[in-house]
């Protein structure tokens, strides 16, 4: 070690030309014994208690994904009910009271309980796998986030059949959602449901950020990060900045206006009704990109794997995602063009809303170039990417049209916008998500989804989405406003609505095919093996499904496509403890080995704290004193949780590893 060089500097990533003997040097017996030890060490046990206490990111994320998908089905059923009611003029299936609860619950479910949790859950499962980590950075916090989310799910879906479903829209504009015009507890349910999803979202975001920055495999410098991880990172930062706005607005200001008669939004008492819209959309617009950017990341992963080449313009794609994340915070007023906001201010948001199309365009052009310069295999996953092009670009184009204040004022709050947003969200998020399900299902379950059913699923879905939502553009231009429970025959909106409702039946069929595919493949699908697609990422290094410890040794990464660089096995680092749970912490920029960190074990306190939060926030809608009781019962739980966490320590590596395969010296 030369003078001035710290031990950390020596913890270098092996040079690209270093010799490559890797795990091959470890005998099978050693590996088998290691597997037994680690699998037992990282197991959270089995049985009901283990189910309640597990902190394994894979178990938690799987639950998250399944729950969020159930919410997609619930939101879909609500959409189906609305399409039935609107399929012909003056239908009597749903009255206005029921309809308003259903459309509010549909929007709330899809945005708060399906889309954002689904995208963060995909991150919670795959970010650690893609960066080569054994768990997320804060496993117990992760469990707490899921339980809070589950409380929100149960809260909403118990309220709805009790005729307590929120009915002021997923945007809950005041004064309609205020105490005067929405007495009762329906809007309270909405306001506190949002609280639970905020907690869950923030927890997931913090976890993804810390995991990405500190738990990457040695050598995976930031410029070698898979694009999906980049998008999850950008989205996590967006959650950190956007969600507190709606927390402030709904949990505190609206909640307090409704429960303890503050007057934040009451113009008669000097409050401001428009303020809510600013607060809500400052969160609500970034929310759209929080849902959409992970979809973009999934597309890059799928395109790279199936075009059989490295993605064209990696740097441009990463920068485009970061730029989108920034600009997403400068668009919120385009939801408010019809309000009395000065025209000059509106122009700024028009310009920003148009500019944001550029980074998205860059990504699309890069994918097209990658496909052109590759030899794509048309798996179901890649078909969904092609479906994305067709569906999402339509939504993107109408989005640019809506950025125009003059045109927006015509179609704002009409079915044109309903068409636009479903093209964007179904096309830009759900379509890539289905593609990602086909891509990653083998990794999660160890079995392949059926490609034959997958193709049925794809075609039904794309046709269904277009038949359902394309006519809505025309309905909007013909004057049909959103959120109406019925319409008169004389309006002439009947036929187009009938077509849209028929399309909804096709979407239901598509989703049914997918469910059948999942059920059959989960039991009888082809065995996947570690890397069924011959893809490049670290998630394909480990077994399918991954063992409890995920990675036996930290993999040493020497390029952006670790599995494509070499036909030999990847070099690894050894030396992490097999006596206690240990993970390797690496530096933020270059991912040099830095600390060994002992990871937490199973705990019941995250669930206990989530129950306390349920008492606190659900109780608060009935009596403000429940906030005090909730805090009171939270205190001992927090103390117990902290006591349990006291033995979690990080230790700096004194003598860092060098070379591709080394024993890390105990600190």
């Amino acid at each position: 070690m030369s003078a001035g060089e710290t031990p950390r500097d020596r913890a270098l990533v092996p040079a690209a030309d270093a010799p490559l003997p890797a795990r091959a040097t470890l005998s099978d017996d050693v590996l088998a014994a290691e597997h037994e030890r680690l699998n037992a060490l990282w197991s959270d046990g089995s049985g009901f208690w283990a189910w309640l206490t597990t902190v394994d990111h894979k178990s938690i994320a799987k639950r998250y994904i399944v729950t969020a998908f159930l919410m997609f089905l619930a939101g879909g059923l609500e959409a189906g009910a609305m399409r039935l009611q609107l399929s012909h003029p003056q239908a009597g299936l749903l009255g206005p009271d029921r309809y308003n609860q259903i459309f509010t619950t549909h929007g709330t479910t899809m945005m708060f309980l399906f889309a954002v949790p689904m995208m963060t859950a995909m991150g919670l499962y795959f970010v650690p796998l893609l960066v080569g980590a054994r768990n997320v950075a804060f496993p117990r916090l992760n469990a707490f986030g899921y339980w809070c989310y589950l409380v929100g799910v149960v809260f909403l879906y118990v309220s709805l059949p009790l005729n307590m479903g929120p009915d002021a829209g997923w945007f809950a504009y005041v004064p309609l959602s205020g105490p005067e015009f929405s007495p009762g507890h329906r809007v309270d349910v909405w306001a506190q449901l949002v609280t639970f999803t905020e907690i869950a979202g923030l927890v997931a975001a913090v976890n993804i950020i810390a995991t990405t920055f500190k738990l990457r495999a040695p050598g995976m410098s930031l410029n070698r990060l898979p694009v999906f991880v980049w998008t999850e990172l950008v989205v996590s930062f967006m959650i950190v900045f956007a969600l507190p706005a709606v927390a402030l607005g709904s949990t505190f200001m609206l909640g307090m206006d409704r429960t303890v008669s503050t007057q934040f939004f009451n113009p008669a008492e000097g409050g401001d009704a428009l303020l809510w819209q600013h607060i809500f959309w400052f969160f609500g617009h970034p929310e759209v990109y929080i849902i959409f950017l992970p979809g973009m990341g999934m597309i890059t992963e799928i395109v790279e794997a199936f075009a059989r080449r490295k993605v064209f313009g990696y740097t441009a794609i990463v920068l485009a995602n970061i730029t989108t994340g920034f600009f997403a915070f400068g668009l919120w007023v385009h939801h408010m063009f019809a309000t009395p906001i000065p025209e000059l201010g509106q122009s700024l948001f028009t310009a920003a809303s148009m500019v944001i199309a550029i980074p998205t365009g860059v990504q699309i052009f890069c994918w097209i170039a990658t496909l052109w310069a590759g030899r794509p295999r048309f798996t179901t996953a890649l078909l969904f990417v092609m479906g994305f092009f067709f569906t999402f670009i339509n939504g993107g184009v109408t989005g640019v049209m809506l950025a125009s204040v003059a045109f927006d004022k015509q179609v704002h709050d009409t079915f044109f916008v309903v068409a636009h947003l479903h093209y964007v969200l179904l096309g830009g998020a759900v379509t890539p998500l289905f593609g990602a399900f086909y891509f990653w299902f083998p990794k999660v379950t160890g079995r392949m989804l059926s490609e034959r059913l997958g193709k049925w699923h794809f075609w039904l879905f794309i046709i269904g989405v277009n038949v359902t939502f394309f006519p809505m553009h025309l309905l909007g231009l013909n004057g049909m406003p959103r959120r109406v429970y019925t319409y008169l025959r004389e309006t002439g909106w009947g036929p187009l609505n009938a077509i849209a409702s028929a399309g909804a039946v096709i979407i239901v069929a598509a989703v049914a095919v997918f469910l059948v595919n999942v059920f059959i493949s989960y039991r009888r699908g082809e065995i996947a093996g570690n890397n069924p697609w011959n893809s490049y990422g670290l998630e394909w290094v480990t077994a399918s499904p991954p063992p409890n410890y995920t990675f036996m040794y930290p993999v040493v990464v020497r390029s952006r496509h670790p599995l494509w660089e070499t036909s030999v096995e990847l070099p690894v680092l050894t030396g992490l403890s097999t006596e206690r749970r240990e993970v390797l912490v690496t530096t933020t920029m270059d991912a040099r080995p830095d600390h060994r960190h002992n990871a937490p074990t199973a705990s019941i306190w995250p669930l206990a704290l989530a129950i306390c939060m349920a008492v606190l926030w659900i109780g608060s809608i009935f009596s403000p004193y429940m906030v005090l009781w909730g805090l009171l019962i939270s205190a001992p739980v927090l103390i117990m949780w902290s006591r349990q966490s006291m033995n979690i320590k990080s230790t700096e590596l004194v003598q860092p590893p060098a070379g591709p395969i080394v024993e890390m010296v105990q600190a």
Binding site: A268, S404, E490
Partner: protein, 328 residues
Amino acid sequence: MRTSLFLALQSVQHSATSPASPEARAIAHLFWWLLAVGATIWLLVTAIAIWSAFARRGTPGEDGLMHVSAATHSGMERVVIAATAVTAVILMGFLVFDFSVGRALAAFPAQSLTVDVTGHQWWWEVNYEDPNPSLSVKTANEIHVPVGEPVQFKLASHDVIHSFWVPNMNGKRDLIPGYRSSIWFRADTPGVYRGQCAEFCGLQHAHMAFLVVAQTRPEFTKWLLQQRTGGAVPTDSLAVAGQQVFLSGTCALCHTIAGTPAHGTVGPDLTHLASRRELAAGTAPNTRGYLGGWIVNPQSMKPGTLMPANPLQPGQLQALVAYLETLK
């Protein structure tokens, strides 16, 4: 009678793409351009994506991956950069186009007829204010405008947020409690146009429509003069009895009929109810049958409306309807 009215209502227009004012025409013009360019981009990019997926220009290398030559790669770079530049230029064009249309719409006319519109759950209060209060006109759910003259609407809300929208005439404008806002247009094609609330405002957001009747100046003036008169004085005995029902029952607590002691302001002004084409903010045509049904049980036609049921005797109802039908 009922059939013909339905036919008449069918001719009522509510489309952003068949403009009846220069303002809506400018927006429609902008829309057709955005649509033409946008649809071209949509279909072109999708087609190129599909074509590219079948182009198979990569050649397998030793590593089993697809590669292209360095020259091809820099060619790809140039194409992607060019496509991005074209995107930026098109967006800039859109932006300038939008600003120019927006400027024209934002320039309120110096002189115009002014109509005050107040949104209520779930109907529209319409006032033609005049410096001389006795010449002011109060009506509801039906706005008459003279063709060729700019008309400015001063918007306010009585309760929650509503949005004023006549697609054939102009874009929409929100009515927000605590804020004043306004919008204007100049109808240039006579006709009856449908407008409606575009911001979700509660149970009966679906039934919060209104009509805009664009008519020639002489017709408009005639209508205005008519609206300035008090409520018709009933002559036949049935209508006289009906007026008694109105004034002695609960009706007068909420509704006004000028020239009578009825001065309620909770519900729409009924002084010239019979001259209006529709009932309950576009819920039904204004015929005897619907009117009677509405009075007896408004909740069945418009569930959640703030108007209570009025369990009248058949004779009373007949008289009341007869009276209301005289209020031309």
